[in-house]
Amino acid sequence: MDASRILSLGKRIATQCLRDKRTMALIIAAPSLVMLLLAYFFSTSAGSITIGVVLDHRTGTEHLSQLIADGLNASDNVTVVYLEEKDINASLNNKSVDGVIYFPPNFTRNVLDSKPSYVKIVTHGNNPSAGGIIAQKFANVSAKVLGSRAPVQPAASPALAMPSVEAEVLYGEGYKSIDFFAPYILGLIAFIFVFMFTSVTFLRERSFGTLERLMVSPITRAEIIIGYMLGFLVFAAIQSSIILLFAIFVLNVKMAGGVLAVVVVQFLLTLVAVNLGIFCSSFAKNELQAIQFIPLVLLPQIFLDGMFWPVSTFPNYLQALSYIMPLTYANDALQGIMVQGVGLGDIWVDILVLLGFAVAMIVLSTLTLNKQLQ
């Protein structure tokens, strides 16, 4: 093992990446644009979801909150469980529910009297899309339930007024949706770009004959792998810092936890991505084929890592798939750090799993180096 050889290789990789001005502009502009879009666009998509409902204090036939809850329970992909008010936080924290609809004690009374009424939708910070999904379901069902009933005072409007919906996010006074998306984007972008760059760079190394030149030189296979990781760590560090700064200072994304913990997660994620890139490139004969691996490797992770739909809402077989994907753990960790402000000690499982992925991928990529030359 020779440090200067590794450094030379690492420096070469970083130089190559950073020299390409157009690519450098893109790797910063593209993620920033995505985050900007997500800051305005909040995805509301169907998935199986469990809603906790806290009913109001009324019983009988005109128990509106009960009717709405029944309606929700009857709609597709929704399971309703009933909670007491005091259990809201605990249920959200242990993820037994994806969100809670809280009906205040005099909800039915107020609605029937055509007084202003409201419900509160409480979701957890680690489950950013649940709030939107629940709000949408609630709007559909309550419109159906309330619209079919006449008010007690017939002088008022022909149908009952819709209650206003207040959203509340646990851990979240003043949190915006982008606060929850930013950690996902940070992990995802580092992974995508490092994976993409590594697989193409390595493929070029092979198809341009430079890999052969390296293989007849004193550099060892292990040094090549380490040099690659080093070069792309520099690249990823620069990219991640810029995205993070953009998120914090331009988009005002909350950063509850420590930067060091984010660095650790990004570091591990980069190692996984570099080696996955080298591994995948050994199965590609040309650059076009290498590009084909990007959707294959990335799309399932993007959809299944919990970014758009909480992992707990997936069917079992998809959950199993989600748990063999490195991004799932990176995102969970980054969420914890940036939104909930936890330290490395609280996300040690994620760190350990990522470390395991990194080691496994390093072994695989080293093994496939032999295959690369044939």
């Binding site: 200067s4 050889r5 070469r12 190559q16 341009f208 004959g209 430079t210 007849v216 030189s217 004193p218």
Partner: protein, 245 residues
Amino acid sequence: MASGENIIECSGLTMSFGSLKVLDCIDLSIEYGENYGLLGPNGSGKTTLIRILCGLLIPNSGTVKVLGRKVPDHRNNALIGYMTQMDALYNDLTVRENARFFASIYGLKGHIREKRIDEVLEVARLTDRQDSIVGTLSGGMKKRASIACVLTHRPKLMFMDEPTVGVDPGLRSEFWDYFRELNKQGVTLIISTHIMDEAERCGRLAFLREGRKLIEGSPQYLKDKAGKAGLEEAYMYYAGGGDGR
């Protein structure tokens, strides 16, 4: 020139890719300091032979010893230079950055490294283009840069797979002067080529056809055996099956 043991010694070397037999029972003895040429039509196994000698491929059978060690042996790498048919350069780096990278891989550092790079760039006539991005160079210049990159670590044994393809005749002649200079300094050269006036400059030649060594000897010997006046005609004679083997 010969110093006891040969620099390359192989016997019964056989190599197949799947069902395709690329090298068939090759015996080869090359002395230290030789200037040895490999001739043969496309697909005759020249490149595969070189790659085995470099330690990039492991033969199916036969014994192969290079620099006194059974290949593949990683310790040989510091002493070997291999110029592939491809330019094998990083297109997005400058000529000097390429040379510097490969020199560093061979453990060259600082002042000595930069001096060596100056030397090889001089040889390759690239001194004034050293800060150009390789991707912007012409084909011939890339070839020159490629040769420069294989020379910085001053290998003892150089494999060159069609080294002067795409290089203009004037520069090719200069290259050969330099090769002869290296040869005089004791560097062993193994060169595969399709250019007959290059083959003519080799001390010994081997003609490969369909993975077999058809004949071996000095250029004159090859011509005499074929009963031809020129090497070109002799080449045609051997490529067509030669002495009927």
